[in-house]
Symmetry: C2
Subunit: 421 residues, 2 copies
């Protein structure tokens, strides 16, 4: 490394969105290469509300690799971090920063240490795939810093190692991860089906569900399902291929009814496969079930889907409405059934894009308390309320793919010390 006089630090900051699958990935055909048993399709969420930001700095003065997550130093000993770091170092190329007078040659990377800082703009450990987003961002930003060529098949493989589904966060809008056929995984890559602007009416409401249950990690759960569920292969080989085609068509035509039906059915089938696993895996809880019932009752009473739901490896609901009006009606139903616990402010209970809340006529807790029961719940189902069962709601929309943040003021590490600001 040849550096100038001013600073011997080179840095890159990247921001990566999270994504939620509408046709689920569940099961690997190759554990080492993270190759899936079926294609999956996801929507990328708005990074303004749900994203990871990572800054990576390199300097010959660093004596070891270090990492900070949300401001707190964490050991960089995790298998995944280590293997990602090792693999990306191998793919690193020459880097030159004329302004700073820094030049790093390809082979230098093996000896240089990095500092990494990562930050999620949404609560970690709420089951919102924060670690997957973090890992995707880690790989993205490291690759930028080390000048790894984007079109290299190897990089896609490293991304999958971080977290299979995180590879879908490489694009905005609607993304398909094709399972591919190649044994080496060269064709198991994410492709963008449509950008976020193709269908920008969609509104997404995430219900973060309170849970005390210890959950099975998706890595372990997926492995157990592949090994023990007699239904998994039938799903992967017979059911999903048709659904992928139908979902691509629904997205192409902005056909919300088909989109919603496929999304709900596939979420339920994924959880069915989890239940068919030995020992069975339960990601949804009674609150998740109640949210499903709420949406299903509404959809049935209207005769056509008003909203879709999907659940990943946890109890949180991701709800998708076709437009702002439906989203408002959905939010009214959700808040009627799951009001904030006493002494809670509405502004901290519904976060993200609060304009949906306002358009739905919900300015304060008083408005929430005055909500009438949804008309469809009147006859057959008592309109029960479950305060405290949802921790909070996030209102958001589709968003764009990862990007480099060139504004150094957004970096998480100091450009002079390489330590958290």
């Amino acid at each position: 490394m040849v550096s100038g006089t001013e600073s011997r630090i080179l840095m890159a900051t990247g921001r990566t969105p999270t994504n939620i699958a509408v046709i689920k990935y569940w099961g690997k055909r190759d554990e080492a290469l993270i190759l899936p048993v079926n294609d999956s399709i996801s929507v990328t969420l708005d990074p303004d509300h749900l994203s990871a930001t990572t800054t990576v700095v390199v300097s010959p003065t660093f004596d070891r690799d270090r990492m900070w997550l949300n401001g707190k130093e964490i050991p960089l000993s995790g298998d995944r971090f280590q293997s990602c770091l090792r693999e990306i170092r191998k793919l690193a190329d020459d880097v030159e920063d004329e302004k700073k007078g820094i030049r790093i040659r390809k082979d230098d990377w093996q000896k240089l240490h990095v500092h990494i800082a990562s930050y999620n703009n949404f609560p970690t450990a709420a089951g919102l795939a924060s670690s997957a987003a973090g890992l995707a961002c880690f790989v993205f930003t490291l690759a930028k810093l080390m000048n790894v060529k984007e079109d290299c098949g190897k990089l896609s493989s490293i991304r999958r190692q971080g977290s299979g589904s995180a590879c879908r966060s490489m694009y905005g809008g609607f993304v398909k991860w094709t399972m591919g056929k190649d044994a080496c995984g060269s064709d198991s890559i994410a492709v963008q089906l449509a950008s976020e602007s193709h269908w920008n009416d969609l509104v997404i409401i995430i219900a973060v569900v309170s849970s005390k249950q210890k959950e099975t990690s998706s890595t372990t759960g997926m492995r157990d399902s592949v090994e023990t569920s007699p239904l998994l292969q039938h799903r992967a080989q017979t059911v999903v291929p048709g659904r992928i085609l139908q979902m691509e068509e629904a997205i192409r035509n902005r056909d919300f009814a088909s989109f919603a039906r496929l999304t709900c059915a596939d979420s339920n089938q994924f959880h069915a496969v989890c239940l068919d696993t030995s020992p069975p895996i339960f990601y949804m809880n009674d609150t998740s079930h109640r949210i499903i019932s709420l949406v299903e009752r509404w959809n049935r009473s209207e005769g056509t889907p008003q909203a879709a739901y999907t659940f990943d490896a946890g109890p949180n609901a991701v709800l998708i409405a076709p437009n702002r009006k439906s989203a408002g009606l959905l939010l009214q139903r959700l808040l009627f059934c799951f009001p904030p616990p006493a002494d809670n402010e509405l502004t901290s209970y519904v976060i993200g894009d609060k304009s949906i809340l306002h358009e739905a006529g919900l300015q304060s807790m008083k408005d929430v308390e005055a909500l009438p029961p949804p008309p469809e719940s009147k006859d057959k189902y008592p309109s029960q309320k479950f305060p405290g069962k949802v921790s909070y709601f996030i209102c958001t929309r589709l968003g764009s793919g990862p990007r480099v943040l060139t504004d150094e003021s957004l970096a998480l590490l100091s450009p002079t010390t390489g330590l958290p600001k």
Copy 2:
């Protein structure tokens, strides 16, 4: 009807056990004839703890059919009761009671009215198939009174109309309901695989789980699954046939490990198919899930199954232990995790065969409170307690098939008035 001078009433009383499937019936291939999409296997439960008793009386003085359930008169207008009654009347034969000097000819039955009284010795509407047991008993007792020939294929069909799975209650011990091939259903009958004495070590503990959720009836749920679940046919055609053979072998060899693995896997797969239905059906709730986790953790820590669980169309758990010792250990675990709510007597919280309780060293609430957490819960899982989540436990065992109660003192209707005693 020619009658003597003393009494113009003829009566029959029958008692029918309940059964719980270990390989589940879910889905009809013929809705009218109640023909299933796959074979199923059940165990018959001890009628001392879970059975229906029905008395049927006939008299020319009755001006209409009447029915009492658990002492309360109910309208006999239900489709199923009416169609069972109509069909059995068609099959009725000559009856002669020499002692009473009564003679009823085949054709008389069409004009004669009956009084029916039914009683369950376990709580109705607790989701313990009380209506199925009641209907099975109704058909059994009516057929006895009307002298319907047992080997008539038509009777089996009437039994199925009452409730598909109730046809398995016609024998004690282990019973298989073969799906059959005949379009008319003539070969879709229940057969006994082994009597209760073949494997009489088994102990059954039923956890009646508290629930406020409105449940989907199994009739509707099953129909929805057949119409919408992409996994149901695969289960019925590809998975169940193998499991039936393995289960028959496990029963033959009294191989508890295989029996337990198959029982648990098939219960979970049935609920997986419910979840794969559109809209999804949830019969199990968080308490059901916790009971499963409790058993699974114990089984895993011991390396071999200590207990099996199975759930029907509701949240109640039916747990099967290989012997009294394991049943005691299971009961300790269940009571640790699901203690009775405050001010509850242990004797009303654990009912049925209380000797299991005593052998497990649990004489009073004090003993329950003193229970240590199960050793397998220590490290990874906090040993949480959930008082009030289980309403009560029933300890029982395998039992015998239906029988006629000849002792008139056990009849539910007066032999002189034909009204409830």
